[in-house]
Symmetry: C2
Subunit: 433 residues, 2 copies
C-alpha cells in the first residue's frame, strides 16, 4: 500500500475523527522508520540487527543524536537500556514510560520493536514542536535484547529493569561465540555505558508499549487498533536426543540408533499438537542442532528448541505431557534416549484496565476502529506489567507475517498507531491543550 | 578383549599357521597405534583429527620422524599426500603402494584409516629389521583428507593422485570457516610442503589398502580376514527446503510454511528406504542445518545432506526416484519448495583379481580364515583402482561400529591383518626369503 494522500500533512490538518486537532507528523514518522533501517537493513527489506552488534551500536548512537538535537537527556542503566527523558512540569511526578526495542531477529523485520521506539520518538517530537506541556515526565525506552536471538533470555533489558532477572546473571549470559553480555556492552562503547542505576524520575506512573500485531487479526477484520488485554502463556522446552554415531555406509539398518531420525519424529509430534491438543496452540521447533553433522556419519545427538504458546497454561501442561509421552515412545522405538527440560515457563499476563481505558478513549476520540485482543508474542511490556500499570497498543501488519524480512506495515497503519499513542500519552501525562 | 598371550612375542615365534617364519612385531604395532593416538585423541578413547588441523599436522610430523629414524625418504605431492619410500633392489621397477589415511571423522575412531598406515609402517620396519630384500620399491602413503569431514569431497588426496579430481579444484575447496585447502596446507607448515609432483618411482605395480571392516560381518562370523572384492556404489544428495520464517507465537498453524517440519518428513522418508526400496540399502541423513535456527522463529530454510549406498547403482536410482517423489509431495503438502541435487554419484568399484589372489594366498599361508566381502564404505583404494591394480584387506571391528569414539579392534585382529599385509607385500614386491 502506498502513502495515502494527506498523510504527509497530518501535522497541518485535523486528524481523522473528531478528537485532537494537533498530533504527530505521519510523514516524518515514516521517513524516520525508513532512515533508521539503514542500520542492519537487508537487501530484501528486512533487518538483521542482533542485540549489541555493530548495527545495534549504530542505531543506539543514532537515537542518542536525535534526543540530543531535541535537548532531551539520555540515561542508560547497567544492562544497556536507553531512556530518553522528556521532563514534565512536575519534577516530582511519576513518569509515563513508552518505547520498545531496536534489536531484531536474525534476518527479521523492520517494524517489530523498532516501530514502538520510533513512534514514541515521534510523539515526543510532536509534543515539543507544538509546545504542549505535560505534568509528568515522559520516558522513551529502548530495551536491550528483547529478541533473545543472540543472548538468552529474551526481554533481557526489561526483565532486569523490572527485577525479574538479576543484573549479574544477565551480564554473564554468553552468545554462541562465547562473548558475554558484559563484553558485548563494553564493545558497543559510549552509547551503552551506564549513567545511573535507574532513570532519574520519582517512579513510573504507567507504561504503554506500541507494537505491530505480529498476527493476522487486525488486518483481516479491517481494524485500526488493537487493545491488548494480555499476553498468552509461553513455555520453552529443550529436547535432547542421544543415539550413537556410526558409519553411514556400513552400519546395518537394524543396528542404527540415529538421533536425527528420532528428532524428526519429535518435530512431527510437536507440529501435530494443534490436532492432538488444541487448535489454538502455537507449537514451534525453531532450533535443531545435529552432532556431529557430517554427511557420512549417523547422527549421535540432536538438540531441539521448542516454543509453545497458548492463552491458557493448562493447555500448555497438556501439550507438555503429550510431548513427554511421545518422546518416551520414540526413544524406546529408536534405541535412543530423550531428555525433556522446561527452560522457560511464563504464565499468561493480564494488562492494566485503567491504562487500557486510556487507549480505548484515545482511539474513540480519533474516530479509529479498535478491538480487544491478546498478544501471542512476548513483549517488554510483559516484564513491566509485574511492577507498574501497563498495557499495549497494536497496529496491523501485513498477512500477520513477522520475524521475517517479509514483515510489512503501511504508512497509514503506522500513523494511526502513533496518533493513538500521542493521545494516550497526553492523557496519562496530564498534557494541557 | 585383552592382548592375548604370545602376541608381544610375535617377532620371536613362528606366526600362527604354517607359512612365514618371520613377520611383523605385533606388540610394536599395538604400541604405535596407542602412541600415535595422542595426536587428537579424545577422553572417550576416540580420535578427533580433521584433515590438516593441528593434530593432523602433529601426526604427519610424527610419521616423518619415524621414517627418518629408519632412513627412508618422505616425499609429498601438492595436495599434501605423504609417501614414505622404501627403495627396492631395482630402482627402475614399478612400486607396490600401501597405506591409508591418518585423518579422522569429528569425534571418530582411532583405527579407521590410521590402522592401515601404521600397519604399513610396521611392515616396512619388519622388512628392514629382518633385512629382507625386495625387487620393487614399497611406498607407504598417508592420503590427505580421506574423511571429507572438514573439506569436501572425501578421498581428496587419492582422487587428486589418481587424476579424478583436479588439483586446483581441490586446493580451492573451503571448510565451514572459509579456509581453503591451500591455506590449510600452508598452515600445516613443512610437513605438508610439496617435494615433487609424484613419488619418484617408475610407476605403480599394484596397490593394497588394509583397513578395519567398519561393518559387523567378519566379527559375527569369526573370520580373521576379509578379501574385499569391491566397493558399493555411493550417492550423495542435497535436499534444500525453503519455507517462510515467521513469529513462533503469533503465526496461525494454517499460515505456516515451516521448513523444518517439511525436512523432518524427508528424514523419515529416507530412513524408510530399507522398507520401501531394498533392505540392503544404507540410507543416512547425516547433516541437517536449519536457518535461522532461533527458537521463537519458524524455520525458513533447511538443508539436508543425504548419503545413500548399495552394491547396485540401479537400487540407488530407485531410491533417488522415491526421494524425489516424496519431496514433491511433502513440498505440496507444506507450502514449501524442495530442491533435490545429486552432488556425488560414485559407481560400484570392482577390485583387481590378481592382487586379491595375493591376499588370499597370504592368508592361507598364515593359517588364518578369510571370506569375500564388499566394502560398504568408500576408501582411497577406490580412487587408486581406476589407475592401477588394487585391492583391499579388511580386519574385524567390534560390533561393526565405526565413525564413532566407540570404534574398537583387538590387538590380535590388528596383528593378523598386518601379517597378511606383510606376506602380500612380500609377494607383490618380489621379496627374497
Amino acid at each position: 500500500m502506498h502513502h495515502s494522500a494527506g498523510e504527509g500533512e497530518a501535522g497541518s490538518r485535523p486528524a481523522r475523527g473528531s478528537g485532537a486537532g494537533v498530533s504527530i507528523d505521519a510523514e516524518r514518522l515514516w521517513t524516520t522508520l525508513v532512515d533508521s533501517a539503514r542500520f542492519g537493513g537487508t537487501e530484501r527489506g528486512g533487518l538483521h540487527r542482533l542485540a549489541l552488534d555493530e548495527a545495534d551500536a549504530e542505531v543506539r548512537a543514532w537515537l542518542e543524536s536525535a534526543a540530543a538535537v531535541a535537548g532531551w537527556p539520555v540515561q542508560r542503566d547497567r544492562i544497556g537500556n536507553q531512556f530518553v527523558v522528556k521532563p514534565g512540569r512536575r519534577a516530582d511526578a511519576e513518569a509515563v514510560l513508552i518505547g520498545s526495542h531496536l534489536d531484531s531477529q536474525p534476518l527479521g523485520g523492520r517494524y517489530d520493536g523498532v516501530y514502538g521506539v520510533l513512534a514514541g520518538l515521534e510523539v515526543l517530537r510532536a509534543l515539543a514542536e507544538r509546545e504542549i506541556e505535560h505534568e509528568r515526565p515522559i520516558i522513551l525506552a529502548n530495551w536491550t535484547n528483547e529478541e533473545g536471538a543472540r543472548f538468552s533470555p529474551s526481554m533481557m533489558g526489561s526483565a532486569v529493569f523490572s527485577g525479574s532477572l538479576a543484573l549479574d546473571e544477565a551480564l554473564a549470559r554468553a552468545d554462541a561465540g562465547g562473548a558475554t553480555v558484559a563484553e558485548a556492552l563494553a564493545g558497543v562503547g559510549g552509547v551503552a555505558a551506564p549513567t545511573a542505576e535507574r532513570p532519574s524520575v520519582a517512579g513510573i506512573h504507567a507504561a504503554v508499549e506500541l507494537h505491530i500485531e505480529q498476527g493476522p487479526e487486525l488486518e483481516a477484520t479491517g481494524t485500526d487498533i488493537g487493545f491488548v488485554s494480555g499476553v498468552q502463556a509461553i513455555r520453552w522446552i529443550d529436547a535432547r536426543v542421544s543415539g550413537e554415531s556410526g558409519h553411514a555406509g556400513t552400519t546395518p539398518l537394524g543396528a542404527r540408533r540415529d538421533a536425527l531420525v528420532a528428532a524428526s519424529r519429535i518435530v512431527a509430534e510437536v507440529a501435530g499438537l494443534g490436532e492432538t491438543v488444541d487448535p489454538d496452540i502455537r507449537p514451534t521447533v525453531g532450533e535443531l542442532v545435529v552432532t556431529p553433522n557430517s554427511r557420512n556419519v549417523i547422527p549421535a545427538h540432536a538438540r531441539l528448541g521448542l516454543d509453545l504458546r497458548h492463552p491458557s497454561a493448562g493447555i500448555l501442561d497438556r501439550a507438555e505431557r503429550t510431548i513427554r509421552q511421545a518422546a518416551a515412545r520414540i526413544a524406546a522405538d529408536s534405541g535412543t534416549s530423550v531428555e525433556i527440560e522446561v527452560i522457560l515457563d511464563q504464565p499468561a499476563v493480564v494488562f492494566d484496565s485503567g491504562v487500557l481505558e486510556a487507549v480505548r478513549s484515545a482511539t474513540r476520540s480519533l474516530g479509529l476502529s479498535g478491538a480487544d485482543l491478546i498478544s501471542r508474542a512476548g513483549h517488554d511490556a510483559m516484564q513491566l506489567a509485574a511492577r507498574v500499570p501497563t498495557a499495549m497498543i497494536f497496529i496491523p501488519c501485513a498477512g500477520g507475517i513477522s520475524h521475517s524480512e517479509a514483515e510489512r506495515i503501511t504508512p497509514e497503519w503506522a500513523a494511526n498507531g502513533a496518533r493513538v499513542l500521542f493521545e494516550t500519552v497526553a492523557e496519562l501525562s496530564g498534557a494541557r491543550r
